[in-house]
């Protein structure tokens, strides 16, 4: 029994020694003045690194794992300060320029008077595409301007309840009509592409200021340089607003909040500039020039109008359809 007890005591002593030896390095790693915060993540540091803080969560909504993204403040500054100023200056500035120009220059007349002979300028399909796109554009423009300017202009006039109802309808119109508008832009791109490639005639046309000043009539094919600019602004601007618009309409499909902020910025700036350019387009197509509206209205223009503004196109048309037809029409007029 005594031997047994002694052996047990020795074993316990050995076990204690082994335990102490094993524990010693652990104790050495834990100095008494430990700072459990030393390695802690710091908000300010994380924000400086990425300008956003993201982690891991346990709910299925992975978007919620981003807990802080202060660049929303930058976007807010853009949306509340820069965009209204850019839009206001672009749209109101263009209106002012057009009014001043109209008062100074007046309507550009058909100088040689109407010939009474009409030639076809736009087919029914071309006019349909133009007016579909134009109708959509006007509704999209008004509903879009409402998002930026409505609360400053319309809300005080009609009150919050009516303004919300109108804005909700405008938002749905904006989303749904975008599809017809985009289709229109695609069709415009395809059907008028061949006539809108820049060439040497355009340089001459631009150098002579398009004949807007004075009584000059620089030669042009079917579309002059000014119309080509409108065409490319519609195609490229339309593509820009369509792409950014659809990114916003389908949130988180390949985007995050920061991308959507950029998309909204591009969408807003391109859209207000687009509206300004279209005001000029509407001006020259209506009160700015005699005989211009009927091109998109009835699809035909007066021969003298065409000769003054699109001389090279008239030559092409006469060569294509045969000058005889034209002569025939002319001889149908009372002679002398």
């Amino acid at each position: 029994m005594a031997v047994c007890t002694r052996v047990r005591l020795v074993l316990i002593a050995v076990a204690l020694l082994v335990f102490a030896a094993a524990a010693a390095p652990v104790a050495a790693q834990q100095p008494s003045s430990v700072d459990p915060n030393a390695a802690a993540v710091q908000e300010q540091q994380l924000l400086e690194q990425l300008n956003r803080i993201q982690g891991l969560g346990t709910i299925p909504d992975t978007k919620s794992y981003v807990i802080e993204q202060p660049m929303g403040r930058v976007w807010r500054g853009f949306h509340e300060v820069w965009l209204p100023w850019i839009g206001g200056i672009a749209v109101l500035g263009m209106l002012a320029v057009l009014i001043i120009f109209y008062l100074w220059r007046g309507m550009v007349r058909i100088e040689s008077g109407r010939s009474g002979i009409n030639i076809v300028r736009f087919s029914a399909f071309e006019r349909f595409v133009h007016w579909m796109t134009a109708t959509c554009f006007i509704i999209l423009a008004l509903s879009g301007l409402n998002i930026t300017f409505g609360k400053h202009v319309l809300l005080p006039l009609i009150g919050p309840s009516a303004f919300s109802s109108w804005s909700l309808a405008a938002k749905y119109a904006h989303s749904l009509l975008s599809f017809a508008f985009t289709l229109g832009v695609v069709l415009i791109f395809l059907m008028w592409l061949s006539g809108n490639i820049l060439n040497r005639v355009d340089i001459q046309w631009l150098k002579r200021g398009g004949g807007m000043v004075g009584h000059d009539h620089p030669p042009a094919y079917r579309f002059n340089a000014g119309q080509k600019m409108i065409y490319w602004i519609v195609v490229l601007g339309g593509a820009a607003v369509a792409v950014t618009g659809y990114l916003l309409m389908f949130p988180f499909y390949g985007t995050n909040i920061a991308d959507m902020q950029i998309a909204q910025g591009v969408h807003g700036v391109v859209a207000v500039l687009f509206i300004a350019v279209m005001l000029a387009h509407i001006y020259i197509g209506t009160i700015g020039m005699e005989g211009a509206f009927e091109a998109m209205g009835e699809g035909t223009v007066d021969l003298n109008w065409a000769k003054e503004h699109h001389s090279l196109w008239v030559e092409q048309e006469q060569a294509r359809t045969g000058a005889a037809t034209m002569q025939g029409q002319r001889s149908a007029m009372p002679a002398e």
Binding site: N37, A40, V41, M260
Partner: protein, 198 residues
Amino acid sequence: MARMKFLCDADRCIECNACVTACKNENEVPWGINRRRVVTINDGKPGERSVSMACMHCTDAPCAAVCPVSCFYTTADAVVLHSKDLCIGCGYCFYACPFGAPQYPRVGNFGSRGKMDKCTYCTGGPEADNSAIEYEKYGANRLAQGKLPLCAEMCSTKSLLAGDGEIIAQIYKDRVAKRGYGSGAWGWQTAYRETITS
């Protein structure tokens, strides 16, 4: 009147998600929406911290500034609320919010997000206090009953603090002074343009 704020003491948060559950239960939050969530940063690494985040009820709130229909308002207690009757679901508040608070009942394709939903600081909405319609649209109105938001009230480690900004800042300062460390009041600089220095 108090200036109500949230403060999450990340050094105390044990990522139990009880605040998330309490919020959903108290407010009958629609399916798919989490007014509050807990996110762990540097998960599994030394120095990891969990932060419970919801609407911070910002000073000069960006959501209110960008709203195209001005449906936001700030209560006398500085709680940022909105009217679901006026909201058109455009998504602008959610571009502007630094904390990802605004959420929508639908995915939002074709612009049909539905009315925005976010943390109300358990303060309901523009309807009559504690009316059935207020509860249905916005959830509980505990503030009108003299209670604080449930997420903070039931936080087991008292990591999440709600109440008057100066009082909860003082509680946090005392904690930092006593324990000797603190990883800061998360989101305060962004939401309130101030930090708690102890």
